[in-house]
Amino acid sequence: MTAPTISLHNTVWLTAALALIAAPHAERLPAWVMVLAATLALWRIYLGRARLELPRRPLLMVVVAGATAAVFLYYRTIFGRDAGVALLIVMLALKLLETRSQRDALLLIFLGYFLIITNFLYSQTIAAALYMLGCVWIITATMIGCNHTQLQQGYRNQLRTAGLMLAQSAPLMLVLFLFFPRTAGPLWGLPHDAHAGVSGLSDSMSPGNIANLSLSDAVAFRVEFKSAIPESRRMYWRGPVMWDLHGPTWNVGRYYFDEPKYQGLSAPVEYTVTLEPHNKPWLFALDLPGQVPPRAKMSGDLQLLATAPVNSRTRYEMKSYLEARFGADENPLALDRALRLPPASNPRTVEFARGLRQKHPDDKALIREVLAMFRNEKFYYTLSPPLLGEHAVDDFLFQTRSGFCEIYASSFAVLMRAAGIPARIVTGYQGGEFNPLGGYIIVRQADAHAWTEVWLPGEGWVRVDPTAAVSPLRIQSGIAAAVPRTDPLPLFARGAYPWLRQLRFTWDSLANNWNQWVLGYNPERQRWVLSRVGIDEATWHALAVVLIVATGLIMLALLPLMLRTLKARVNDPVKRAYLRFCSKLGRKGLPREPAEGPSAYAARLSRLRPELAPKVSAITRLYVALRYGAGGSTAALRELEQQVRQFSA
């Protein structure tokens, strides 16, 4: 007997399912990969429709070698995330081209399940998960179609059965998700190219950097406050601190790890940050961070640095002092570094600063004077400033006078340094948006900000935000209120439509729960869940017991359902009795072939086990008469049922 061939109907299903699964990769992989795969798949369908021979092995070998070479040439490797997925998709399409038998089709289906997982290497959002769930449904329906070659299966039946299977397995999935022992980190590392293209603040700042970032409505982090939420204007989320100016660019430079000395002047604010991956080490916290999260350290200028770049969503508890005094006895080397300016740059600014210094020997008076200048003269706050030349600060202060926060911070710091006041630039985020549905603050990349800190003798480092002088609205109401309406801002950062706002909050709240409870389900969360079911010690032992008990309970709950469907399938009592008879014999190693008629089966049994012959032929005679004869009686049915009950092989 030959292996069952796969019908055109199933081939089309399989191709469609695989195409659906691969579709999200289309935007991530080079076009030629998708075009090649689609061509191969369409070729297979054409051959199937036209009932032509599938291509021979040598031809396939050539295509395989060619495709592998192409992937290698394109990526310079065949490993890693992108190259691996590209290769997988091309090979799947090629396998489709030589799929003749049911066995090939099943192999493809299992590879299809694997391909579904690869999508999560790129995106783990709710939308992606829902889409992949749909894919799982479709490919399971395909598998059902391939397995039931004998039954007339409509696509509705296939989809219904697959849906039922998924629904039945959902409780098991939930139990495994909740109680399977979790490790602290991922089980395996993601390929090195998995984190390319994540945006966020970096260790340098040039004019335009932050303005560009402001065009993104991507979420930077979300914060849940344990106490009252501070006013927007007081929320400065501290990030990279810039010390060194080279040309127009500020750099973080070397970190120094002197023990920072600070003194909280107000009660601390406590909150939890859920930080989106940004591929850099900074952990953001309200200025001034009052504690260091685990697996992180704090530099002398109060930057929180994780020991490894933040590649996955990270959640940490924080405590901050909104009023604090720090760095009064700053290291003189650091102060010296905070005064350095590149030689022969921004000469007009330097001259202007010297003039100011002569006018105001007092530091504070000088700062007030500069801020008053920003506030009272014609300075503009805009996302799309004119281009600046080599001496960016000179150009800005004396010519263009319009720019975004980074150029205000930059000019202010240069002015201070030229006037002999130690100054540095702090980048991070300012403000945030309160989501009333989830009760948390969303901070987006659009909220990115830069401000300055100056060092005053006796007071230490003091925050001065020149942007607040030129555009108080930015600090009080957020970016959307501050920039001109014509500036290109992401839709989400605009607050114009209330319904859009509502929708946005709902969606973000959902996404936040998804992040917190599904993607961020870590050992701590698991411990919390376990404590809710009365287990305080989350040992592997306890987890195993919970797993077994929960699985058993689910099985028990599903059992009546399964029994009912089994029964429903054979609602003919005659057939049921006969099947029982067959299964009794089947257990003794004498199963009936699916295509074996009852009399033929009886004859075979009598040959193999002559001692059973009288009983077997009596049962068979009753069954045949009842099932195939005209007008079976209830008495005969009772007789059959009784004989089957008494029968033993």
Binding site: Q150, R604, G629
Partner: protein, 327 residues
């Protein structure tokens, strides 16, 4: 193949109807008689007889010399039916089959002289050597059970049974019957070589033609028609119809065949299975009956495709039987 031997229990079971055991005995007698002439081919003889009972026509396809013509002769002789043989050749005309009208000199106008088709058993020998024109004359008569010439319709005798023989179509000088006409035959059987034992008996025994002349009819026409009517009334349960439908659906769905079975083929399968059940002494059809007649009924209707074509030696019918579970 399932065991087709008759189960004595089944006969006893249907003892309420006294007709059936009697009929079965008659059928057994005929089969026995024909088997004494065509040695070792009881299965094919039973199939041929089932075809007759189901009021279908029979196509025997095999190489020359295996006893195709002999089988037709023996069947006709044992049934006591009028028998005529038409040797199909490439110059055969429809009139040679159907008959012609010739002017009667006594002044009564034209008189129809019936052709050889007006017989109860007609042997169309080597039917694929004639031109399509002559073939279609025969096949139309088969289908309609009547002949229309010169505007006049004449009914053919009852029972009417055509046995056509043909050489395998790969032999030289043939006009193979198109698929649409093959469908008119209820069954196609192949005789094949006899086994060693049967062949030895054949070589040792008397001349077959002498034996043929000694045959006496063991069934009268009335009984035969009664049997045919009876065969139509054999009961088919819904479980059995399910099985027939699944078989047919499989051929339509699977990639193994160029085309699926037609509804006419499904009916043919059912009629043949009924006749087989009657020959087995039963009043109802069981799946084994369907399986027994399936090779004869579908063999000429299904053209294998895909994997089946290359897998030589896989019998189409056996493959089909194995693939479809009995519901």
């Amino acid at each position: 193949m399932p065991d087709t031997g008759r189960n004595p229990q089944d006969v006893a079971n249907s003892a309420a109807d006294r007709g059936i055991p009697f009929m079965t005995t008659q059928i057994d007698k005929i089969v026995g008689q024909v088997s004494s002439i065509i040695l070792g081919k009881e299965r094919q003889i039973r199939l041929a007889f089932a075809c007759l009972l189901a009021r279908g026509h029979l196509l025997i396809e095999d190489i020359p010399g295996v006893g195709k013509t002999m089988l037709a002769h023996a069947l006709a002789a044992s049934l006591g039916l009028g028998f005529q043989r038409i040797q199909f050749t490439s110059d055969l005309l429809p009139a040679d089959i159907l008959g012609v009208s010739i002017y009667n000199r006594e002044g009564r106008g034209f008189q129809f002289h019936p052709g050889p088709i007006f017989n109860q058993v007609v042997l169309a020998d080597e039917v694929n050597r004639a031109t399509p024109k002559a073939q279609s004359a025969l096949l139309e008569a088969m289908e309609e059970h009547q002949v229309t010439t010169e505007g006049e319709t004449r009914r053919l005798p009852q029972p009417f049974f055509v046995i056509a023989t043909q050489n395998p179509s790969n032999q030289v000088g043939t006009f193979p019957l198109p698929e649409s006409q093959l469908d008119r035959f209820l069954m196609r059987i192949e005789l094949g070589y006899p086994d060693t034992e049967a062949e030895r008996a054949l070589l040792q025994g008397q001349d077959r033609r002498d034996l043929l002349e000694q045959l006496s009819p063991c069934l009268d026409v009335k009984t035969l028609i009664e049997l045919q009517v009876r065969a139509r009334r054999i009961y088919t349960s819904s479980a059995l119809l399910d099985y027939v439908q699944e078989l047919v659906n499989y051929t339509r769905r699977a990639a193994d065949y160029v085309n699926g079975l037609s509804p006419r083929a499904a009916l043919a399968l059912l009629h043949a299975a009924r006749a087989w059940a009657l020959m087995d002494g039963r009043e109802h059809v069981v799946p084994e009956d369907v399986q027994a007649v399936l090779p004869g009924v579908v063999g000429h209707r299904l053209v294998p495709a895909g994997q089946l074509t290359r897998a030589n030696g896989v019998d189409i019918a056996e493959h089909l039987i194995k693939q479809v579970a009995i519901p």
